[in-house]
Symmetry: C2
Subunit: 526 residues, 2 copies
Amino acid sequence: MLTGEMFIGATAVRGEHGSVHGINPATGETLQPAFGLAGANEVERACALAWAAFDAYRDTGLDARAAFLERIAQRILDLGDALIERAVAESGLPRARIEGERGRTVGQLRLFADVVREGGWLEARIDPALPERKPLPRADLRQRHIGVGPVAVFGASNFPLAFSVAGGDTASALGAGCPVIVKAHSAHPGTSELVGRAIRDAVADCSLPEGVFSLLFTEREAAVALVTDARIKAVGFTGSRAGGMALVRAANNRPEPIPVYAEMSSINPVFLMPGALALRAATIGASFVASLTMGAGQFCTNPGLVLALEGPDLDGFIAAASEALGANVGATMLTPGIHAAYERGVDRIAGNAQVQALARGKRGVGMHSCQAGLFATTADAFLKDTEMQEEIFGASSLVIRCKSLDDMRAVAERLEGQLTATIQMEDGDAEAVRALLPTLERRAGRILVNGYPTGVEVCHAMVHGGPFPATSDPRSTSVGSLAIRRFLRPVCYQDLPANLLPQALRDDNPLGIWRRVDGSLVPAAR
Amino acid sequence: MLTGEMFIGATAVRGEHGSVHGINPATGETLQPAFGLAGANEVERACALAWAAFDAYRDTGLDARAAFLERIAQRILDLGDALIERAVAESGLPRARIEGERGRTVGQLRLFADVVREGGWLEARIDPALPERKPLPRADLRQRHIGVGPVAVFGASNFPLAFSVAGGDTASALGAGCPVIVKAHSAHPGTSELVGRAIRDAVADCSLPEGVFSLLFTEREAAVALVTDARIKAVGFTGSRAGGMALVRAANNRPEPIPVYAEMSSINPVFLMPGALALRAATIGASFVASLTMGAGQFCTNPGLVLALEGPDLDGFIAAASEALGANVGATMLTPGIHAAYERGVDRIAGNAQVQALARGKRGVGMHSCQAGLFATTADAFLKDTEMQEEIFGASSLVIRCKSLDDMRAVAERLEGQLTATIQMEDGDAEAVRALLPTLERRAGRILVNGYPTGVEVCHAMVHGGPFPATSDPRSTSVGSLAIRRFLRPVCYQDLPANLLPQALRDDNPLGIWRRVDGSLVPAAR
């Protein structure tokens, strides 16, 4: 079923600039076939097709575009077990996890189909003409949002389905009316080909211009060529800080700079408030480790930092967490490279003279398994050593012993931007939490109470984003329906004749969308 | 009344790093007093105060914040004639224009007060918990927008009131809950001191933390220090492409990059469709010149490019425009520097071998008057010479003679990003316009029919923005109520206890704002 080809629009193309294989990280086995890599020529053709498709694609009606997203979802389901098996083999992730991720991927596509149909993303505004106004009449002014243009999406290693070829970036960009060119992650080329073909086929099913979607396998040079092509107008990326910043720099240095939405680096602090620790230190310790070690800790929202007041209650948490962690058998990590980077990171923190090693998990049986780690330091030491804030991608966490709530807040103030901040609290902690919240709001995209940050709900209120370096653009989210806004820009129409107005802005509101008229919201149902 | 001091929070401070004077461009007269310039110390103090004020200020209620904006408006009106006279003296602009601009400035502040009260900018979203959901329950998730943090605003030369100390950037940032530090434009320091004091006093009137507003007079070095201070989280700028890009680069090179909203460079093409030219070439010629020469052409939206099919109708337009332009007596330009740059730009275009000089206006009586210019070239020549796209700030425009509608569209496709694109058309031109619109939507923030781009309405549907280099961020507008979004970011709250939720997200909706509940819009009135 796999051919090792990419898709330049509708055409399956074998790249001729080297090749890459999938590797089963659990066994080290090289998976067939070889996937040919793109050169400048393939990037050029994909961009030309995307550009040629843009005007027609963004002009599709809401129902047609929504049906296209739903068709992609169905095509992915139609891949059946072949997709699941290949993704498991390439990622080392358990079958149940991959099945769940497929459900999430399909659910995301359907969510954006609903969002597209509802039409709120158009943010239609109408300020009718005031011909009698003195001293000057007001023209008729109408505004809607349109897609920014073709979008380059970089698949992530850690979600081979939900943050990859047909993941949230692709779904939201397509929803916004933007053609998408995906640069597949080299860790799961077979999964990428399968999903890429599903999208390619959905494009054909829906009679859309072929340039709406292309899939490239590339090395670094061609990836930069993609980001710097003048026809690409925005970039979505999930991955490392170094990788994200390289794309940000490339995008900033273009003659026409473009936005890059890079979701990069977060250590997701967990604040254990005194009342919660007093009541349930042991329970929190165990549940915290479950969150920390889930999926070998390979989540953007993995809890890599714990803040608490020193004392017997914290000792109780540490004892319980150490016990749970010590019993944890490491799962296989996604790639040999990720595993090696994890080991380096853990060695670095373990070798820090200001850091105490609390517990290590057990090595798993397969190759490249993640041996979890729990460490501790003091607030003073943490504040003096910025290296301790560096993300270690995998199941490693650092406990900061604080002397006081002020100390805890001081550490919070010095944290870099985060995707999440978690609070474990009881009613009696409310005042302390109230004092902490303004800091957390400034530092994180999502604040959660008495849960854990892993497990990101795909819904309307989700923010999977946050200040730098959690992302390169804190004004947005890469998960949830607000993600569509990343790929939109407003356009204003002044005194356009009725027969030239876009449907979203016609007097009779044929799309049946809510609009702002003279500043007031006017809901309307179809 | 003027002291030459800046405002670091509530404190009037005389800068000691050199000084600057206002200059009357019409007479060359140096205006008193001298304004002392800030050093690193003043920048540091202003940033520290802004940072200290941020949490308290963003926590103000909707009514309190709106009342503050209205108080600024009233304080500006209370300055009375002293403000008008100083602004006229410093800008060379006519009294009526400055009075109109004051009205616009006050109106903008009141518009944002209304926007703040309405609360739609919070974009509150609630996805209630689904404890029974299988396989996993859903947490309670709620989202609102908060201010990004302290904002640096760079006043523009060409709107000493409406795009300056209390202009649209300041009003929208304050509306978003962000403290503002204004870097005054050196062309109108006295106007800036007066308006700065009005805001400072309004801060005190409303018992807000003093750091909510500071006003700095600076040279370049301190201005860069302001943009690169870690406590500044966004920048608003209106001015030249070189100036804007210098700030963009400084912001991108920070350890934590921040968004810069720079409104920079646009030549605002005007498309004269065949039917319109056939019917009213002479009328269009005269009205076009009125727009071109208004305010000595010193508007971001000045029509610097005209596209039309060659032939007798275009000749008729050119004859009428040349006649009107020849009769135009140049008005004083804003500064000697702007006048010199205009003269250089006109000399450059006039000296281009592919350009034909059509008409020049009359020199005005004062110093630094703008002698309007109208030039022509062919589409072929324009497409080969990117220099012809460079903005000449002032009353200069270039007519492109096109051989066909395809030729016209080809030129449109090659244009850099624009604030506006204008179409003069009749009913018979509808099909040609329909074919042109997709290009214009991709190239401009506002498309207008049978009007002129000068005169930007401050309303809800306005877009004063557009693709690069019109702005550094096409996802926004610097005029109109949507401008508030530039200074906001979303925050998500997961399972927060009711007593810790922000008002915007409480079940009982005490703010009476519209919200999205489970994705559906639920309007609510107070």
